[in-house]
């Protein structure tokens, strides 16, 4: 690794959250050394298009690039591609990158998550995850290898990602079976409210749904001397033929490199409401578990908009010491041309109240409402109306950062768990 000039800010993770933190630091006026450590040997790229445009074949992989080398250079960012952080010494303020202990003044963890795998899938060809650009290219190749012929694709996991993959692969003309453990399609923070509508949409477009079942066994055949998937045996005894399997059963936070630091990494990096995990150590993006000051719970949010807002909040905190208003989750999805947006969380225990449009026409805005206040908002093919409703809810968020009344003192949660 090249020597950085003195201890500056080291950001580990060069995807959206890490890159946005770097950009945010510069726009807040930080002029010191800035290092961005990325595990993949690529320029930072955007992940959502992987399961949408790239999988559907409308975008090449290069269209996902977020920042070119010259842009990072102009920003004064030292980008270390294909580098991995392996350890952190909290007291000495060093992070080990490529075997070398590098000093830092501030350390930002933005290492994201890694896709969970199916048991016993190791060494079997045709089984894919979809998290990285390489994953997307490998999947594309397997789908394309059939030579424009429709292949049997089994998608395991009926969450947002699984539904999106099913939609994109089906739109490309393949035969798709979506397999879910839960009896209903789980769809992000929608509390089950959209399950029936989404299942109907998928079925109507020719996706076969198998829900309430587990994958018990992977059946394989020999193809050119390689074990290659041929079918999945499900927990109800049925068999789903599959030339290609895409696994979307969730992710695990990439936190191994923070082991032994005293930071709580039981489910991502535990942070206070400002993203502080320990003095001078922060976490942003999918790996970060920020305290929600409203509910008092700490939870990870695997959504882009949250990653962006967290990155800006931490950048501002590092440079100015100012804290930011709580971040409300926002996510979007696209299934067979339907654009779905969700703000906040739809409460599973409250009815869904339609505010505009009509769900039967697949064009509506609806909310779960508690004591007159929406707790969560969904917009289905009604983006402008969704935004107008959302604007009512986020006045305090949209406005500029809350006044900093006191400097950040680190986190009480973290202090308890810290090794002094």
């Amino acid at each position: 690794m090249n020597k950085t000039s003195g201890a500056g800010v080291v950001i580990v993770g060069a995807s959206l959250a890490g890159l946005t933190t770097a950009e945010g630091l510069r726009s807040e006026g930080y002029a010191g050394p800035l290092t961005l450590v990325g595990e993949e040997d690529r320029m930072p790229y955007n992940r959502p298009p992987l399961s949408k445009q790239v999988l559907a074949g409308t975008w090449g992989i290069d269209q996902t690039t977020m920042s070119e080398a010259d842009q990072l250079e102009r920003l004064g960012v030292q980008h270390l591609r294909a580098h991995r952080a392996t350890a952190v010494d909290v007291a000495a303020r060093t992070v080990t990158v490529g075997g070398v202990a590098e000093p830092f003044e501030h350390l930002v963890a933005a290492t994201g998550v890694t896709a969970r795998r199916l048991l016993n899938s190791h060494g079997v060809r045709g089984i894919h995850s979809l998290r990285t650009a390489d994953d997307a290219l490998a999947l594309q190749q397997d789908l394309g290898d059939a030579g424009q012929v429709a292949v049997q694709v089994a998608v395991v996991g009926a969450g947002v990602l699984g539904c999106e993959i099913a939609s994109a692969v089906r739109s490309a003309g393949h035969h798709v079976t979506l397999i879910g453990r839960s009896a209903k399609a789980r769809f992000g923070q929608t509390g089950g409210h959209l399950s029936a509508m989404i299942a109907e949409l998928l079925r109507e477009n020719g996706v076969r749904m198998r829900v309430g079942v587990d994958v018990d066994e992977i059946e394989s055949r020999d193809a050119d001397g390689h074990k290659t998937v041929s079918a999945l045996r499900l927990s109800d005894g049925s068999v789903v033929p599959a030339d290609v399997v895409v696994v979307a059963i969730g992710c695990s936070p990439a936190v191994d490199w923070l082991a032994g630091t005293g930071i709580d990494i039981s489910d991502g990096v535990l942070c206070d409401a400002n993203g502080v995990a320990a003095p001078n150590i922060y976490a942003v993006g999918d790996v970060a578990r920020w305290l929600d000051p409203v509910t008092g719970e700490a939870r990870r949010v695997e959504h882009q908009a949250t990653a962006i807002e967290q990155a800006h909040a931490v950048a501002r905190l590092i440079v100015t010491g100012e804290r930011t208003a709580p971040i409300v989750p926002l996510f979007w999805s696209e299934l067979f041309g339907n654009r779905i947006l969700v703000h906040g969380r739809l409460d599973p225990n409250l009815p869904l109240t339609v505010l505009a449009g009509d769900p039967a026409e697949r064009r509506f805005v609806a909310a779960t409402i508690l004591r007159g206040q929406p707790t969560g908002l969904v917009g289905w093919n009604m983006p402008r109306e969704f935004r107008q409703e959302r604007a009512r809810l986020v006045q305090h968020v949209v406005q500029q950062p809350v006044e900093a009344t006191e400097a950040v003192k680190g986190s009480e949660i973290v202090k308890e768990g810290m090794v002094a």
Binding site: S27, A305, I308, H312, W332, R384, R390, A391, V394, V398
Partner: protein
């Protein structure tokens, strides 16, 4: 300052129109509509904020020299 918006990469999250409704709107599909590409100086901060919040990075701000 000059603003440009790439309607091909826009995913219609509406973050820009939410924070800078004087500069951005959305069409019926949610895709960004630029209301003016040369903001007033008083709008520079909010224009930058809109660009920085775009999840598709579809908004480009070119600062004048």
């Amino acid at each position: 300052m000059k603003i440009s918006a790439d309607t091909a990469t826009c995913i219609g999250a509406g973050q820009c129109a939410l924070v800078a409704g004087d500069l951005f709107d959305q069409d019926d599909d949610g895709i960004v509509v630029l209301l003016g590409d040369e903001p007033a100086e008083s709008q520079y901060v909010i224009a930058r904020r809109a660009a920085s919040l775009c999840p598709a990075r579809a908004i480009t701000i070119t600062e004048s020299a």
